[in-house]
């Protein structure tokens, strides 16, 4: 309570974060509270602002792939894909068929991994601890597959300009098959624990409702937009990598509350599994990297044995790109929403401007609007349901 003159105000300002178990990273929230009721939320971000856009202007197109991994670090493959598609559109590069199918497989595996991570940590926030361990168990299988193809679990830098870096092996396809065959049962296990659980429903139903009109007005994308009832997915609206050839549903919610966002993401995992099964059935043979002089790297085996390939590799790696002048904006459906790259090229080896449109940034801006008048515990539920990753919010 603060006393000012003859007036007693019951409002308290509480600082949450940037070090806090439930803020999913270094997010700071200033809460204007009246008892337990949140009157106003002011998010303060920038604690993980690493200057990636400025770095993008000072590094070559090839070097920038590494930074894209570290944006939304739960969905690194998808970030790589978005950047690669933007540069390929700028240069007019056609990616070989085998690489396109591998890209879809990696993107959907990454989507499942990101949603599993979200579900585990969200359930932990709300208080359901066992789900955390179950989700991470499945996620480990996916990370093992990533490590098999790229050598890294979290930041693979696997999808690059012109194709993918290394080919997948039969062992990978075997692991993928065994994962896809059993994953739907695991989703059923998670749903058994949570979906009809009275505590879960009570905590999430009618919390932080965002209507369809508001969701569009605030520029939200991804599961947040779909949970509000807008049936929109960039994989359907502006297909890339051959998504128009796969059958999948777009789950949508009705109310736009936290419970709908949970249901949408769980169903998306099922649909991703469906896409994986289709992609895996018929992976075409052929090269995994387009052969474009002075843009795409030659295969590693040739670099090690052929002097011309070695010279080509050296020239590209040290920055002798021939990217045409122009600008392009290209976005994909990341697990969190729309990840867009706006690249302005002046014909040199480095982008003139590399802008990263982050869905988490825009979705987070709707948080104060969504949580007016809710309780502090509901605020935690709302924050978790938007699914933010500070690496992408702050860049």
């Amino acid at each position: 309570m603060t006393v000012e003159g003859n007036e007693t105000r019951k409002e308290m300002i509480l600082n949450m974060g940037p070090q806090h178990p439930a803020t999913h990273g270094v997010l700071r929230l200033l809460l204007h509270l009246e008892g337990e009721v949140v009157k106003k939320t002011i998010p303060i971000i920038g604690y993980l602002h690493r200057g990636v856009e400025k770095l993008g202007e000072n590094r070559t197109y090839l070097q920038n792939i590494v930074f894209t991994d570290r944006l939304d670090y739960t969905a690194a493959m998808c970030n790589n894909l978005s950047y690669a598609l933007a540069v390929e559109k700028l240069c007019g590069i056609e990616v070989p068929e085998r690489a396109r199918v591998i890209r879809v497989i990696m993107a959907e595996l990454q989507r499942i991994a990101a949603h599993l991570l979200w579900l585990g940590t969200y359930a932990l926030d709300i208080g359901a601890m066992s789900v955390f361990f179950y989700c991470f168990r499945e996620r480990e299988k996916i990370l093992d597959m990533f490590e098999m193809v790229s050598g890294q679990r979290l930041t693979p830098s696997y999808i690059c300009i012109g194709g993918v870096r290394r080919d997948i092996t039969d062992k990978f396809v075997e692991l993928l098959k065994s994962f896809c065959d059993t994953f739907n049962d695991y989703i059923r296990d998670y749903e058994n624990l949570l979906t009809k659980n009275p505590i879960w429903v009570e905590r999430l139903r009618d919390v932080a409702v965002l209507s369809a009109e508001d969701a569009i007005n605030w520029g939200t994308t991804g599961p947040v937009l779909r949970a509000s009832g807008v049936k929109f997915d960039f994989r359907r609206a502006t297909p890339y990598c051959g998504y128009e050839n796969y059958e999948f549903d777009i789950p949508t919610g009705t109310k736009g509350d936290c419970y709908d966002r949970y249901l949408v993401r769980v169903e998306e995992m099922r649909q991703s599994n469906r896409i994986l099964k289709q992609a895996m059935k018929d992976i075409p043979d052929g090269p995994i990297m387009a052969d474009v002089p002075f843009v795409t790297l030659p295969p590693k085996e040739q670099v090690m044995s052929n002097i011309e390939a070695l010279i080509k590799h050296f020239k590209i790696a040290s920055g002798a790109f021939q990217i045409p002048k122009g600008e392009v904006y290209s976005s994909i459906e990341n697990p969190k929403g729309e990840l867009g790259f706006y690249i302005v090229s002046d014909g040199s080896a480095r982008p003139y401007r590399m802008r990263i449109k982050s869905s988490c940034f825009v979705n987070l801006s709707a948080l104060p609007f969504m949580t007016q008048g809710c309780l502090v515990a509901d605020l935690i539920a709302a924050l978790g349901s938007i699914d933010i990753v500070l690496g992408e919010v702050d860049r």
């Binding site: 920038g46 856009e53 520029g219």
Partner: protein, 153 residues
């Protein structure tokens, strides 16, 4: 509606508000003068056929050798048509442009970031202050004359 139809519609209904239209590699581009910005943005959103309702991005590009120095670039998406449009507004150094938060609320934080990184002012913005850097940071990092490794203070 395809990309050419979008350009045709804009030229038919709002050519007095634009300074030029063209087809980019990925989407139609329109250059708009800052005096007509709000009117044009409202037209893009409210026109039945165009219906550009989802603000994708607001950013800026710095061309220090040119006057006006900055290009504030808007990317807006139409859920109905599945098409994107790029709107470019030239703005001088030290100058500003009207905020489009009255058209799309989602532009609020995006414009704050442009202000923080480039120093472009947005008039009638509900809360224009720095968002990524500290409140008392003196420079605008994404300007071309700001060094990558920062300025020692």
């Amino acid at each position: 509606m395809n990309r050419q139809e979008i350009i045709d519609r804009i030229q038919e209904k709002a050519s007095s508000l634009t300074m030029g239209t063209s087809q980019g590699i990925d989407c139609p581009e329109v250059v708009v003068d800052k005096q007509h910005l709000i009117e044009f943005m409202k037209f893009l959103k409210e026109d039945e056929a165009l219906s550009f309702d989802l603000i994708s991005d607001v950013t800026a590009v710095d061309y220090p050798a040119r006057t006006p120095r900055f290009d504030v670039v808007y990317h807006i998406f139409s859920i109905k048509n599945g098409q994107r449009i790029r709107v470019r507004v030239p703005v001088g150094d030290g100058d500003g442009v009207e905020s489009v938060t009255c058209v799309w609320r989602g532009a609020e934080w995006l414009e704050r970031e442009v202000y923080d990184m480039f120093g472009v002012t947005f008039y009638n913005h509900p809360d224009l202050r720095r968002i990524l850097m500290e409140e008392d940071f003196k420079y605008h990092p994404l300007r071309k004359d700001f060094p990558l490794e920062g300025i020692e203070e």
